[in-house]
């Protein structure tokens, strides 16, 4: 490294006068400003160049005058000539702290230093880097091998521990030499070959190719191969379980790092081992029972970042991922569902979760009370897809959820549910604040011939606010009335269809249309007869067409009640 040594204050004072120290301080300030500029501006920003030019100029001037520029480093302070010229106690910002943490105790800049050396040096020391990683400051400086910058480390001042017994003591070899002379030279001793065979051009080319490939190789991939090999080959179950834990910890770290490709590789490999008949049963059982056990919850949640950048994450990978994480991490997966905005990703995630959640739908229930409407919606959908019957009591109250999208999902759930209570709960949607949902409810109830809803329908028709309802809803109400009431409502509807409203033609049209809709849906012989009579009465009028069409359609349908199919 170099022959500079950190100085004590007395030495420093003797060596550096005030002017020199002032110059040193100026140089350091210029360097610090430049380091900051590197963090703030992109490489092509002209301001960066301005700062580096200034720092180089000041450094060069100082070196021309004083020959060298040496800085001594303590934890938060930088010294020149024994005098403190910079202090910063903010560990995040302090360049002294950064250098000190990495073990640097002294820096020496020599005459002849180039612009690019200063620039690269500041680029390295200016960034906040953890000390015990691959790209720590000292390693980067060492790799750069700046010809005019020398650094001293704390380790350089430690004496090597000679107590380890590593070095033999130098003793006389007299005895051994004597013994060697007592033995005559052996004729049969094999001689080394005269010439060492040099490597051929082809061999050199192969080596060069391999060395170049080594530069690009990702060592992590090699580690994955090693771990896979151990998992496949290890026969001791105790050791196998240890490595299973190691692999899962690694999966956790990889999830945090967003390296889902490697995560999937490992998971698929484990799944392959678990399925393979040639793998010992004990190992397969361990994989089955322990899958996800050692992966921390926060690692699973870290998937959020990856899933948000969905273009980089193939959705077809989700089932494998969730299948593995699944039973133990359903809570975290549900949390993730609460964050996914993208439609395609959401669909894939839900589909994957459904597959995984089959065995234990109860794990989803707590999320039905979540604040996030889209999570609640997704969970209801999942429960619906799972065909989970047990969750009715948890889902039904969501019929009054503030978000329409959730209520729609709940509606679909209730429609599918075989429990009669679900049907009753559907009736509640007749009071929903959304007209389309009310209309849909009426249509479903009508199609299903769910007669318990008749009373509610009649009440809605008789209610004061009926007149304000949209016309489509009015029709739907009367259709439902007809379908659910059958013959019992035919007289009422017949009266409506026959009545003349002399003073309000518009109202007459609407009333007749509603009645016609009801009679058509009632579809009984009496209802059809009422329609025929209405047609005859209104011959020549504009409502005749409406009635005739309804009658035709009803007769075409062949009469009799329509089968109650549920439209989920």
């Amino acid at each position: 490294m170099g022959d500079a040594k950190p100085m004590n204050e007395a030495e420093g004072n003797a060596r550096a006068g005030k002017e020199e120290i002032a110059s040193g301080a100026e140089v350091l300030q210029a360097m610090l400003k430049t380091a900051k500029a590197f963090r703030m501006y992109l490489p092509n920003n002209p301001l960066r160049k301005k700062f580096i030019d200034e720092a180089t100029e000041k450094m060069s001037a100082h070196l021309r005058r004083y020959g060298q520029f040496q800085l001594d480093v303590e934890q938060f302070t930088i010294y020149y000539g024994g005098t403190s010229i910079h202090e910063n106690r903010d560990a995040k910002e302090s360049i002294a702290f950064r250098l000190y943490s990495d073990g640097i105790r002294s820096l020496l800049f020599r005459e002849g230093i180039r612009h690019d050396e200063i620039s690269d040096f500041l680029d390295i020391v200016g960034q906040d880097r953890p000390a015990d990683t691959d790209d720590d400051i000292v390693t980067l400086l060492w790799i750069k091998d700046f010809p005019h910058i020398v650094y001293l480390l704390a380790e350089d001042f430690l004496e090597a521990d000679e107590g380890k017994g590593a070095m033999p003591t130098v003793t006389s070899q007299k005895v051994g030499i004597r013994k060697a002379y007592e033995v005559p030279p052996e004729a049969s001793t094999q001689q080394a070959p005269r010439n060492i065979e040099p490597i051929t051009t082809e061999q050199a080319a192969a080596l060069q190719k391999e060395t170049a490939a080594e530069e690009a190789r990702d060592p992590l991939q090699e580690v994955l191969k090693v771990l896979a090999s151990i998992l496949a080959g290890e026969t001791d179950l105790g050791m196998f379980q240890e490595f299973l834990e190691i692999v899962e910890n690694l999966i956790g770290n990889l999830l945090h790092a967003g390296r889902t490709g490697e995560v999937l590789r490992l998971i698929r490999y484990l799944q392959k081992l678990e399925r393979s008949a040639s793998v010992a049963p004990g190992k397969r059982e361990l994989i089955r029972s322990d899958s996800g056990k050692y992966i921390p919850a926060d690692a699973v949640l870290a998937l959020q970042k990856v899933m948000e950048g969905a273009q980089d994450f193939p959705v077809e990978d989700l089932p494998d991922l969730f299948r593995y994480l699944g039973p133990r991490h359903m809570k975290e997966i549900c949390e993730l569902l609460g964050t996914i905005q993208q439609m395609k990703m959401r669909k894939a995630a839900i589909s994957a979760v459904v597959e995984v959640g089959k065995g234990n739908p109860r794990v989803f229930y707590p999320f039905l009370r979540d604040q996030r409407w889209y999570l609640v919606r997704n969970i209801v959908l999942i429960l619906n897809l799972l065909g989970d019957r047990q969750s009715l009591d948890a889902v039904a109250p969501l019929a009054s959820h503030p978000d329409l999208r959730v209520r729609k999902e709940v509606f679909a759930y209730l429609l599918k549910h075989p429990d009669p209570r679900a049907r009753t709960a559907v009736i509640g949607f007749l009071q929903d604040e959304s007209p389309p949902l009310r209309i849909r409810t009426l249509q479903i109830l009508a199609a299903a011939k769910f007669t318990p809803a008749l009373k509610a329908v009649e009440e809605m028709i008789a209610a004061k606010d009926f007149a304000e309802k949209p016309v489509q809803e009015k029709y739907a109400l009367y259709e439902a009335l007809g379908a659910l009431g059958g013959d019992s409502v035919v007289p009422q509807l017949q009266r409506m269809v026959m009545k003349r409203h002399w003073l309000n033609r518009f109202k007459e049209g609407e009333v007749v249309a509603c009645a016609v809709a009801g009679l058509k849906k009632a579809h009984t012989p009496a209802a059809l007869e009422a329609l025929r009579q209405a047609e005859a009465k209104r011959k020549g009028g504009e409502l005749e067409t409406l009635i005739a069409r309804a009658l035709k359609e009803a007769e075409k349908d062949g009469g009799g009640p329509i089968s109650s199919g549920e439209d989920a």
Partner: protein, 480 residues
Amino acid sequence: MSSGTNPQQQLDRELIRLGKGLNIQLFVLMKTAQNYPEGHSALSGPVRQILSAVRDIHRRNEEASLRAHAGHLLVGEIRLKPDAVGIESFLYTLAMMKRFQIGGIHFGQAVTSQDIIQFAYVLKEFEQSWGGEEAFARLAARMRDRLIKAIELEPLVEEGESEVPEGLSEVDQQARSRRIYLQTVSATAEVMENAKMGQTLRLRKSKRVVQTMIDQLLAYETSLLGLTTIRCHDEYTYNHSVNVCILSLALGQRIGLGKARLCELGMAALFHDIGKSEIPPELLNKPGEFTPEEWKTLQKHPVLGVRALMKLKGLDLVNARLITGSFEHHRNFDLSGYPQYPYRRVSLFGRIISIADCYDALTSSRVYHRTPLPPDKALRLMLDKAGMAYDPILLKVFVNCIGSYPLGTLLRLNTGELGVVVDNAAELFLWDRPQVRIVADQGGNEADGGIVDLSTDGVRTIVETLDARHFGIDTSVYFL
């Protein structure tokens, strides 16, 4: 981060590339001239390449010259560092220039193919002679006779006995190597003790000493390699790990790995046996042979090493290398080694460490083998297994690196003296004539007869190699 390439650096790199090419083609031309007469078409290829390189250099306003200085070859003022591809040509040129006392070969702008061919044949004429004081003058005169004007020679400047760059004396560099060696042992011990106790592994100190070791290796390879002859026989120590590190780095440097990769290789080599921290010390230190059960326990250490590293360190780039190094170093090139788990291919680092590990193990009594072999015998044994246990190309480079008489080999000379190999000859084809320290005179008396270069000595030759251990001679003391 800035790319760190300015125009000057780029030019330097270009010149190095052109200089290496020029040197290689000059070598090829010389070899071709050995086998073909002047004017043969076989010469046209290398001549064309030389002309092209010379012109490219001139186009960059630089001097198209090859110079020898302090054991280095330079193009202009820039030092050429040999790699696996060019090592032979590099050594050949240096040897040739030394023999003829040539300090520099300058190719002028007006150089023609005819000049180059004639130059090659002038050198061929002088090839058989061993140089001497008049060599340069005669060579220069012959070139004048042949009217070779566009190629100029400059005489070799007298160099000191110890050709040590950067002003460090031989004693200083040995002291520095010793210090680095001890620091590395100390750093290794610290990590291994932490591993034994199941504590988090902190590798910063080790990384620093490996970096220092690489710097030392690049500058003074022999002084560090010589320390690998140290054998501690009483108990398991960390010397073996450090030796494997040094040997691996020497090999890695020779095949052209960059500094960053060398650092990773050094770390992986240093901790290749970290799994042994979980093997009972009484087993590691057991005198005598191991039982099959004991072997089985010992053979677990690669996997135990992986476990320790994963649990105690987590995963980053350096640790990834350590993990593969621990797992692979006994796998063998043909995957016949252990652990016998399904695995496709041993990585480059794994193959390098495997060679270094085995060589040090064979020459030591404390690492698996109860009877250590002399270095040259160890190499022969390994060469017999090239392609099976060891990567054949890497093994060849390794042998080229440490010589057919590796450092520390005890020799009996024709004069009756005993010598210890302390360095190889500069010329590759003279590596059966190493530099030796005379340790005993012809009367059998211990002596410090200084270092003799057998490639130039003219009197001494090697009669046989001796098993130093057999006689109780510790050759490592000659490197301290």
